[in-house]
Amino acid sequence: MKLAVFLSDLRRTEDTYERLKAEKLGVILVENGIYHAVMKEGGKDSPVLNKAGASFYVLSEDLETRGFTSAQVNPKVKVVNYGDIVDLIMNDYEKTAWL
């Protein structure tokens, strides 16, 4: 399946996320999920970004709302806006999962 997963929290549903598999997986970081794109807890990338084969996206409006800029985003993650998320949902992935 082509699955777009939305993460909107810093911590919570990791156990489901870690086990989900998809032939094409997009991880869209929104609301408090954006911290996975910018924080380096213990000097390390968020474990969320270790998902093999996934593409990562972070919502620019939610980054800026929380005091971060695109320049601080982990290079694994692409910064997107609401219109881009619509395109990801409608064109690039077949189903979504808001964890």
């Binding site: 909107s8 609301e31 609401y82 219109g83 998320i85 619509v86 949902i89 409608m90 979504t96 808001w98």
Partner: protein
């Protein structure tokens, strides 16, 4: 162009997720997609007209009316609303009330479903 059905459960005040949902709906409609919105659980807070907009609280009534005016079919879970004391006469114009099966039926003819469960 496609049909996006969103089921949204978090509250208006106390969560930022409804703000996200309305912005996404607006962006989808701007691209020509049809958007159906199901509001259930605490999201039925939207089913009370005349909410006052304070800058310390999320306020979406105006935005919702704008999107309903542009064709977003917006339906609120009737039981969830009644349980919170939001009655038919409180419902903003253009918003529908229905039972949960409305939402499931909408998914049938949707290209995509974004289900945003509660906290």
């Amino acid at each position: 162009m496609g049909v996006l059905t969103m089921g949204v459960f978090p509250s208006l005040v106390g969560s930022g997720t409804l703000d996200f949902s309305f912005k996404l709906a607006e962006a989808a409609m701007a691209k020509g997609h049809t958007v159906n919105l199901w509001l259930s659980g605490n999201a039925v807070m939207m089913a009370k007209k005349g909410q006052r907009a304070f800058k310390d609280y999320s306020h979406l009534e105006k935005k919702m009316m704008e999107l309903i005016g542009k064709g977003m079919e917006t339906t609120v879970c009737e039981a969830c609303a009644e349980a919170r004391g939001y009655h038919k006469e409180d419902t903003p114009p253009g918003m529908k009330r229905a039972s949960m099966d409305w939402y499931l039926a909408k998914t049938f003819k949707s290209d995509r479903v974004l289900h945003i469960g509660g906290e």
